[in-house]
């Protein structure tokens, strides 16, 4: 089975690098973007299977990035991370085509489960 190709987008460097490392440990192919523009560039050039996207970011917000990703390639699955606890953003995201949303701090096992489900749903 191929390694799942993931794009991790979050403005918090410590968070994003650490989580990337953990996902790599779990045999995933992870690339990183620190903001919306960078993420969209990567989606254009090297499309991932799953994007893990933080909602609260400076510049383009997570929901805006989500819309743009879906516009570029609607097959790419997006899992939102909300730091807010507010389910509102999550629900809004799902209406915009996100696969699901998770509330920070996340449980790694749950994230893996969602990623797997997302990949499965693509087939």
């Amino acid at each position: 089975m191929d390694r799942i190709k993931i794009l991790l987008v979050d403005d918090e460097k410590e968070f994003v690098t650490t989580l990337a490392e953990r996902l790599e440990l779990r045999n995933m192919n992870v690339s990183i973007a620190m903001d919306g523009e960078a993420a969209l560039a990567l989606v254009e050039n090297d499309p991932p299977q799953v994007v893990i996207l933080d909602v609260m970011m400076p510049g383009l917000s997570g929901l805006e990035v989500l819309e743009k990703i879906k516009a570029i390639n609607s097959r790419i699955q997006v899992i939102l991370l909300t730091g807010h606890g507010a389910t509102k953003d999550g629900i809004r995201g799902m209406q915009l085509g996100a696969f699901d949303y998770l509330i920070k701090p996340i449980d790694i096992e749950e994230l893996i489960k969602k990623v797997n489900e997302a990949v499965k749903s693509m087939v």
């Binding site: 918090e12 410590e14 968070f15 650490t18 490392e21 807010h84 606890g85 507010a86 701090p105 790694i108």
Partner: protein, 573 residues
Amino acid sequence: MALNLRKWFNIRQSLQMLTNLDSSADRYRLLQRNIRILMIVLTIVPLSMMALINYHQYQSSLREEIINPETLLANKTRHSFELFLRERQSLIKSISYFYTYEQLSDKKTLNHILFTLKKEFGGFVDLGLINGADGTQLCYAGPYKLLGKNYAEQGWFQEVMLKGTYISDVFMGYRKFPHIAIAVQRLEQSGRSWIVRTTIDTTMFDNLISAMGLDAESDAFLLNKEGIFQTDSRLYGKVLEKCPLRIPMGGYATYVEERKGPSGRDIFLTYTHFTYPEYTLVIVKPKSTVLKTWYALKSDLFFVFLASSILIVIVVFRLTGIMVSRIKEADQNRELAFRELQHHHKLSSIGRLAAGVAHEINNPLAIINEKAGLIKDIIEYTPEFAQKEKFSTLVGSILQSVSRCRTITHRLLGFAKRMEVEKENLDLNELLEEVLGFLEKEALYRNIDIGLELAKDLPKIDSDRGQLQQVFLNILNNAMAAVEDEGRIFITTWEKDADTIAVSIQDNGCGMSEDTLRHIFEPFFTTKREHGTGLGLSITYGIVKKLGGDIEVNSKENEGTTFKIFLPKKSIV
């Protein structure tokens, strides 16, 4: 006193009190009193003034109407008396002219004249001829033996010689009968003078008085200038006695006076003086008979005044009562709305703060979580890691702490979310457990046993999570306050019927008296004194009603309280 009154009636102060948000019972009592006094004064004063003016107007106009007939009667009667006396006087005068001295000296003629006078006029007792020079009775016709009697020294003789005519006061004749004497002087051209004198009984006086037609209570009589009765008085004495009423002499008008009679009763006195002789006719009537119409009118007037006053007072009292209770109600509603708003504002700012804190903490927490997670991963993925067990335990406890922090931030965010009014499909059991989470610590410290009997397949309901949390938090807080340490609170949920689910929260605390129970849902009612706002349960009641539910409470003092809340499964909004 003046200052005090000003304070009493200070309207501005009363109005200011209204705008204060302080709801002391005193304020409304004071306001009510002031409005009542003001309204009563404003209505009773003009009414009294009207009544007084009417009273005086009626009194003066009625007085005229009462006095006029009295004066008229007095004048008429006086005229009759005067006419009678003048007529008798003229008669005697005529005799002195028609007959000569010689004729009158003849006893036979004198007797004949007396006989004719008696027959035609009545009242004549005797007739005599007196010598003008020496005052000796020359001839006499009548029942007494007066022939030869000398009158030269008597007052009347002097007077008749001076004025030519004389009418005496009433005197008792020899037969003990009241009489008057009339004497007329005749001066012949030859210089000889003689006097004709007659005595008349006063029956005619009595006739004239009885012709006045007075009622039994009233009296009329003649007085001479010394105030001696000339006729019998029904009330004050017999003829020739001294009259106890003092009648002022002099003046020729007719006078009307009100005064107290000798027996102390109020009398109405009318008197008029004769020109000659100097008699006074006095009419006495009791005031009550004269003023009968006036008294009737007065009592009518008084009755109308009294009735209107009572009516005004009743209307003012009732109206003011209603008005002030309306004001009180409006004030309370306004205050309630104000407090609710304040409460809401407070909660929503706490909510915003909580959300901010939760969010700020969440990010570093996420980093800690990932770092610790990575350490754990490294430990697990490295086959020969030194001290693997120890590190695993350490990382595990870090992750556990993160998880605890996450619970706290979630709760804070949940609290913030409660500010937003939203309907959602929710599980009441879950909600109750969530609320109990807030009280766990206190229950633990105080060793309070919280029992749960939650229906397993309780249907979800459409309702507002935040509002319901507030409802249960309020009731549970009250229950916690009511029970002693090591007390017991029991929560049950069940499906009441097809449309309703129910929650009961029972405690074994101090309970409530029936009186407290009656007021429990009223705003600002509190038994916690300085600690309570008196709003908790009234807001709770308001929310439950707003959500289409109902709330019931049973309580017994020293046994405990049970709240039952019924909620509709489908939202009514």
